[in-house]
């Protein structure tokens, strides 16, 4: 035995105290080096802070109407000007971050949960269940997604919550497919073969091996999906199918000020910029995460 150990011990020049580095840590290290990703994270954090501290930052009550102060151009008093109710656009844009982030995050969370579940079932059990679930995904993906969302909101009635649900639903097949393909490819990996060979049960393989190894692409895709979800929510808001007044949702703000484009462009410019910046932040962050966590997903 002692002899064995000696024969085997190959480590002589190695530092004994090398720390243990998981793929997550490794990912974080390379993420930290990605400047664009950091900028993106910065933007996202900025908006999260805005959302959290909105009551502190916002100089005005968002629903304080003052019809005598309608459509005032940006000034030192109202940095972004006022809207057609004489409300402070700056404050409303800040509160809008709450709504957009909330919708973005929870709709994606919803689609991740449902999509992963369906994807795992389809990928792991295969056969007719896979056939059925995959067909449903095909069908949902063949719909123009915004139409599907409009339809769902029309059924449920327009409200922020229902817009969130609709966005979650239309994103389910994306995650479902992602997870399914991950499961299928991980199923082929040798370490799953190895897990089977040591007599592991299906459930354990699923939850201890396949799921953790699917996390990275889910996080990456999830981050990018938040970006799209925010745009989708704004689009629904723009069509009047999302947030209801007086909620300062960005898309809704755009819709409300559409008529003032010529006389009061600031009512349109700032909410639009807010949407774009937030989405850009998530996209940058998602790109960075992809490079760091899941280089295979590149295209």
């Amino acid at each position: 035995m002692a002899e064995l150990a000696r024969n085997g011990t190959p480590v002589q020049n190695e530092k004994v105290k090398e720390e243990s580095v998981s793929l997550w840590k490794e990912g974080w290290r390379s993420f930290k080096k990605n400047k664009m990703a950091l900028v993106g994270t910065g933007i996202v954090l900025f908006f999260i802070l805005l959302a959290v501290f909105a009551p502190v930052i916002a100089p005005y009550e968002i629903n304080d109407q003052n019809l005598s102060m309608r459509l005032k151009a940006p000034s030192s008093e109202h940095v972004f000007g006022t809207d057609d109710f004489g409300r402070d656009i700056f404050s409303r844009v800040i509160y809008g971050a709450r709504i957009s982030l909330w919708v973005g995050f929870f709709s994606v969370l919803g689609s991740v949960i449902v999509g992963s579940l369906l994807g795992i079932i389809a990928g792991y059990y295969g056969r007719w269940i896979d056939g059925m679930i995959s067909r449903i995904f095909d069908i949902m993906l063949a719909f123009p997604s915004i139409l599907l969302a409009i339809g769902i909101v029309a059924v449920l009635g327009p409200s922020l919550k229902n817009a969130l649900i609709a966005i979650a639903i239309i994103n389910i097949p994306n995650f479902g497919r992602l997870i399914r393909s991950r499961v299928l490819s991980i199923k082929q990996e040798e370490y799953i073969m190895a897990a089977k060979a040591i007599g592991m049960s299906d459930a354990r393989i699923l939850f201890h091996h396949i799921l953790p190894n699917s996390m990275a692409p889910i996080i990456v895709q999830g981050t990018l999906a938040i970006a799209t979800a925010i745009i989708e929510a704004a689009a629904l808001g723009f069509l009047g199918l999302g947030a209801q007044p007086p909620n300062p949702e960005w898309g809704k703000m755009l819709a409300d000020s559409k008529d003032y484009l010529t006389q009061a462009p600031w009512t349109m410019v700032f909410p639009g910029l807010a949407i774009m910046l937030t989405v850009l932040g998530f996209n940058l962050m998602g790109d960075g995460l992809r490079d760091a966590l899941d280089p295979r997903m590149k295209n």
Binding site: P10, V11, N13
Partner: protein, 341 residues
């Protein structure tokens, strides 16, 4: 007859500039290849064999890999800083190269004929028809049956062995004076490997093409090469005639390597094994890079980098302090010889 080197590499140093800083993948290596000679370069994975060949071809990944020092002389002409235009002329025409993975080395979307003809027409003024004829001729030369049909087939329709033959045919179209083969048989089965090796030996004999044969299989080296360079972690540790290297290896690494191969001719009771792992290039900055795994290492080995010392035999050099003495003796001997004349 005296031999002229086709290629001389002097003090070549190639580094990669990665997030972790500069990684010297190839660190001041010197070797040469004579006309019509097959030079084997052996070493374990990651020791810098491919980087050496890419440095010669000027195909290092742009922006990451860079030659930071040394000279590469092709027929006396320095090609380290040659213009891209000149390199284009040299590549394929003067120095050709084949790669390890026959599966991925051919563009899957173009027919074999298309790729062959392209290779021919880059460097000659042949028209399409002539080029096609030449291509078919070359395919026949490398022993491919149905050469005409293969011209119209796509890479995926051929087996690995056939693809490697196509690669060789393509490399040989312009009769290069040097063929660099980067592990050309590693991905192939033994029976196919035997065929390919024979083909390369034949080409070397019939066309007097010098071949730089990169491999990690000592069996292959013994079978086809005339001279051998042994690399370890970006450095050349031993260089010499193939018989010398196998019969009287001097570097502990070479010795270990040769001893650790199981032989099918007889069953060894127990294999010799070199302890430890292959170090990452650049991870050892001080002393002999093999010292950590070396049974004979002494203090100096960990501090100083040994030079490449000549042993007694013709062209045999070893990078090891154990042989410094021999070097000194050599000097004495040559001095003595000089005195005699």
């Amino acid at each position: 007859m005296s031999k002229h080197p086709v290629l001389e590499v002097k003090g070549l140093k190639t580094s990669f500039f990665t997030d972790d800083g500069e990684v010297p993948a190839v660190d001041e290596i010197d070797f040469y290849i004579n006309e019509g000679e097959i030079l084997g370069i052996v070493g374990e994975s990651g020791c810098g064999k491919s980087v050496t060949s890419l440095s010669i071809m000027g195909l290092l990944p742009k922006g990451i890999g860079k030659i930071v020092g040394g000279e590469i002389l092709f027929k006396g002409e320095s090609i380290v800083n040659a213009s891209e235009k000149r390199m284009k002329e040299i590549r394929g025409k003067e120095i050709a190269m084949i790669f390890q993975e026959p599966m991925t080395s051919l563009n899957p979307l173009f027919t074999i004929g298309n790729q062959m003809v392209e290779a021919i027409r880059i460097h000659s003024k042949m028209n399409k028809k002539q080029a096609q004829e030449r291509a078919i001729e070359m395919l026949k030369l490398v022993g491919l049956p149905r050469a005409k049909e293969i011209m119209n087939e796509y890479p995926h329709q051929l087996s690995g062995g056939m693809r490697q033959r196509v690669m060789i045919a393509m490399a040989m179209v312009c009769n290069p004076s040097l063929l660099i083969a980067d592990e050309p048989t590693t991905a192939l089965d033994v029976t196919i490997q035997a065929q390919i090796l024979k083909l390369m030996k034949d080409l070397n004999k019939n066309f007097n093409t010098a071949i730089m044969m990169i491999t990690h299989d000592l069996g292959v080296v013994a079978e086809v090469c005339h001279r051998v360079v042994v690399m370890y972690s970006g450095k050349i540790v031993e260089e010499g005639d193939v018989c010398t290297i196998f019969k009287s290896p001097k570097h502990p690494y070479t010795i270990g390597l040769i001893q650790s191969i199981p032989d099918i001719r007889e069953k060894k009771a127990r294999l010799y094994s070199i302890p430890g792992n292959v170090p990452k290039p650049g991870s050892i900055r001080q002393g002999c890079r093999f010292a950590a795994r070396c049974e004979h290492a002494f203090e100096r080995c960990f501090k100083e980098n040994p030079g490449l010392y000549e042993t007694g035999e013709q062209g045999h050099k070893v990078r090891c302090f154990l042989h410094q003495r021999e070097e000194e003796m050599n000097v004495e001997r040559t001095v003595a010889a000089g005195e005699r004349t």
